[in-house]
Each structure stands twice: as C-alpha cells, then as structure tokens.
Amino acid sequence: MQVLSRHWRKLALAVVLLVALLIPLFIDNQYLLGLIMLAYIWAIAAYGLNVLLGYTGQLTLAHAGFFGIGAYTVGILTVNYGFPFWPSLLLAVVFASVLGFLIGIFALRTQNEYFAIFTLGVGFVIFLVIERWESFTGGSLGLIGVPYPEGLGPIQFEGPEQLYYLILAFLVLTIYVAASIAHSLVGRSFIAIRNSPDLAMAAGINVGRTKQLAFTISTAIAGLSGGLYATYIGFLGPAIVNVPTTFEILLYLLVGGMGSLSGPLIGAFLVTTIFEYFQQFEAYRLVIFGPVVILLIIFFPRGLAGLWGELEARVRRSPEKEAEGREEPSREEVR
C-alpha cells in the first residue's frame, strides 16, 4: 500500500515538474508568466519559513527582513557597485544567513510568543534601516535597474522565459534541500523540538543549537528568494521588506500547510493567483480573504496539504481497521 502511494507520489511529482517546464511554451501572456515566477519566488521564501515554523515550531516574524537583506544585497551590489549578478546572489545568501545566525543567538534566548515579538522587532528594524539609510539603499525612492543575470555558458538570460527557468531551477533546488532535510535525522530533531522541547532534550537533542541551525537555514533561504526577487522585479523599494510581507509569506504557509513539503508551493501559488484574481475588488480583497483564512485555520489547521494527507491516511487506514477487529476508537472515529 505504502509502496504504491510512494510510486503515485513520484508520478505526481514528475507530472508537476513537466507542466512547470512546459509552461513558458504555452503561455504567451507575459503578465501571467511573471505572476507564476513571482509565485515561485514567494514559494521559495515560504520554504524558508517552513523550516523554522513548520518543522521546528518557532514563529519568526522577521522573515521579510531577511528576504529584504537578500534583495538589497543583490540590488546594492549590482546597481551601486556594478557587481555581476551571480556573486551578488551568493553574497545575498551568505549575508542573510550570517546575520540570521548572529540575530538567532539573541532571538532564540526567548521562547514562543516572546520569540515572535522579538523577531517582529528585528524585522521592523531591518525595514527601518533600509528605508532610512538613503545614501546606501536609495531610501523610499528605492533602487532602480537591477540587471538580469549574466549568461551562464551557453544559457543567456535575455527575457522572462529564461529567467523563468532560472527561478524554477532554484525552486526545485530549494524543494530538494527541504525534502532532504525533512527526511534526515536533522529534520527529525527539528520536528522533535516542535512537538515537545522537553522530550527533545530528554532524547539528547541540543535544543538551542538545533533551533539556531533551523533559524540560519530559514534566513539563508529567505536571502536566496530575496536575491531572485531583485533580479526578477528590477526595482526595489523598502515596502517589500516591511512586516506585512512577512504575514503574506505566513499566509502562504497557512493556506498550503505548515510542516509539509508541498504546502509552501501550493500556498504561494494559490494565494498569489487568487489575490490577482480578486484584484478587481482592490482593497476589499482582504475583506474577502480574511474570513476565508479564518475558516481555513479552523477547519484545516494543517492547510490544504494537511487535508490531502488526512484523506490519504483515511483511505490507507480503512482496510487495516477491518482486519484488526478489536481496537480502541481513535480520535477521528469519536468525532
């Protein structure tokens, strides 16, 4: 049964990847293609948040800040200093993770809601620095003219189609890394901390150091998505670094499902497209979206990916149940 479901999962993955590869061939509409690229970028950011919030159970509200560090590293280096894109992107990841590591040392001394509040402060400070340090970051006027990546060997990045494949490649890489971590002992340590820090400690896990690792990984991925965003959009303003962006990434995770491998992608994709669809309602779209999110959290706390997992588990469980006969009622049955 499980082997079969694993095959199905691989098949589904292959189909999704194939569709993703073919998208630019079928979509002429540049606007739509841009939207999908944006969804990919946000999905990468959401995977970063997922490492810390979804797997390790720590709610950080500084995520947009580290996204911004990545974006502005690429922006400043390429626009102000004429750096090529590739080393700038590498430095974006390095800066975001080093800063993440350093801030984590202090932030992770706090717990639960205090950690959330502390990181909210961190995110806001990063935003303020970027907004106010005009000579360096362009302030509220922003940075204009972040270039496309330079060609890699035979591949030239001349138009959105090529950039699409670049962003897709990074998305696939991110998902691969996320999956590798999730299935490793390191990932199990993350999950153990989410479930119960005391029990994790009693199992011999260094809770402080493991959280620090998760925080650093999440900021590194945030930096990567920020760097890609900079080259995608070409223009950087401080608003993207501000706290509401964090909540948007959080929303992707809530909708898609925390602590799952497909959740960030599903969430980022759905929310960005639905948001776009509701654009005609302008400011009212949040009025529509708010209640939808509340209903989602109440009825599907583990998001759409969690809903799928539950259905799958129910299908898998039923024949086994009949065979075993005598059994304590599980919670689902009681309900």
Partner: protein
C-alpha cells in the same frame, strides 16, 4: 556505584525543594523514590537529569561528574528519562516518535542531510533499526506504524520507555510509569521493568503505587519536604516510623494497594 548524588539540592526562592540528598544506585538494580506529593521527587529527577541546575551538591554517573551538564548531555552520558505525563507526539506513528531517540548516538549533520551522504543513509537506517528493537523490547512492535494518539495509555507508556531505551542509556529514570493505568496493566509494566534489569539496564523510579514499589525495588529512598527521611530495602521502609508518620500526614497517598 552507577549513579551517585552527594549533598544534592536546589532552592527556589528560599524554599529548599530538594535539600542535601545523598543517594546511590547500584548497577543492575531498581531504586525507587517515594514520598508525599510535593516532597521533591520529580525535582530530584530534574536535578539528576540536568533539567534543573542544582544550587548545591554533585551528581556522578559511573564516576563521571555530570552535575552541571545540560539535559541533552546527560543523555549522551547514558541517562534517559520519561515524564510523568506522556508527552509523545500524538499525531505521529509510534516508530516516528522513537526513532529520534537514537539521534544522540549518531553524527550526521546538516550537510550530510542536504547531500544525502552514505553516512546520513546509514545512520537513518541505524536509528530506525534501533527504534524497532526498542519497540519490540517493550512489547509494542506490532503497533509501530500506528498513530500514538489512537493507542491506549499503557501502550503510550511503553512507547515512552522505548524512546528512553533508544538512546542506549545506562540508567533509566521513570517518573510515575504506572500513573493512569489499571492494575493488570501495572503488572505488565512491572514485568517490563524486571526485563529491563535482566538486560543490564539500571532503573530508578518515582511511583505512588506502593504495591509496584515494594514488588520491584531493591532499595527505596523516602523524601519529605525535600529531605531524605529514610533509605533502605522495602521491608525496612515499611516498618520505618518516620515514613509512616510522613504518610499519615497525607492520607490520600499510597494506600491504594499497599
């Protein structure tokens, strides 16, 4: 002497929750700690296992000083513990809950994870095997794939013990292993603890069920108001005046099946 505490104590805002306790546990035995509610039994466990930092005294495990080690390091030194309330992850399978217990004996790091190195694969397998072994030792290997939340309390208690055993401990501290299970199941857990001792584990337990304590323990320590008021084999403790007095002051304790 496997585990030894000397003058171990902790003060919470002027209150001596555990006061200068000397205690020794010999290898391959069962030691029990009893006492009225609030006597400091769980606090003593927390001190020994590094969850609290003692304000006085020493703890040694096999002559290694572990007094100020954080909890996760005492596990590496060979001390495992369970909690009064089973706080396993209810939505995961029994196996998934136990696998992480062996993490402490592995070395693969984040780079092994990302690059899926042979070491990572090998240690993944090693943890899974060790977890299955522990589950089968405690007698619930047939429940390995079941969601913990759907299992009866007794099975959850056994899985908690399996998690402790997966860390390859020398000594296991069990905090009220039989709380909330019926008499028959208590018998089953007693058999399990005997089996643990037969397999060279050393056990130290806190328990309110006197029948269990008297039937299992080689040695009993009685705590009251944080102080050791008696220590000795079960027969001696049962006849000890100061112990009877301490328990008469708290009548709802321990009379269920002594």
């Amino acid at each position: 002497m496997l585990l030894k505490t000397e003058g171990l104590g902790i003060t919470f805002g002027g209150l001596k929750a555990v006061d200068a306790v000397d205690f020794e546990v010999e290898r391959g035995t069962v030691a029990a700690i009893i006492g009225p509610n609030g006597a400091g039994k769980s606090t003593f466990f927390n001190l020994v296992s590094g969850f609290y930092r003692p304000t006085s005294g020493h703890v040694t495990l096999e002559d290694e000083e572990i007094t100020n080690l954080p909890a996760h390091r005492t596990v590496r030194s060979g001390m495992a513990r369970t909690f009064q309330t089973t706080n396993l992850f209810k939505e995961s399978s029994a196996l998934d809950n136990v696998i992480v217990g062996h993490r402490v004996r592995t070395r693969s790091n984040i780079f092994d994870a990302i690059f899926r190195t042979p070491r990572s694969r090998r240690e993944n397998r090693q943890c899974r095997d060790r977890a299955m072994e522990a589950l089968s030792f405690v007698g619930v290997d047939h429940l390995a794939d079941r969601t913990v939340g759907s299992l009866p309390q007794e099975a959850q208690k056994r899985i908690s013990i399996a998690l402790a055993l997966a860390t390859d401990p020398k000594i296991v501290l069990l905090d009220e292993p039989a709380a909330g299970v019926n008499n028959e199941e208590t018998q089953g857990l007693m058999d399990l603890i005997r089996k643990m001792v037969e397999h060279d584990y050393t056990v130290c337990l806190v328990e309110h069920k006197m029948g269990m304590i008297m039937g299992l323990a080689d040695k009993i320590m009685v705590l009251n108001y944080g102080q050791k008021i008696a220590e000795g084999p079960p027969e001696e403790i049962q006849a000890d005046e100061s112990v009877i007095e301490a328990y008469l002051g708290a009548e709802e304790e321990g009379e269920e099946d002594a």
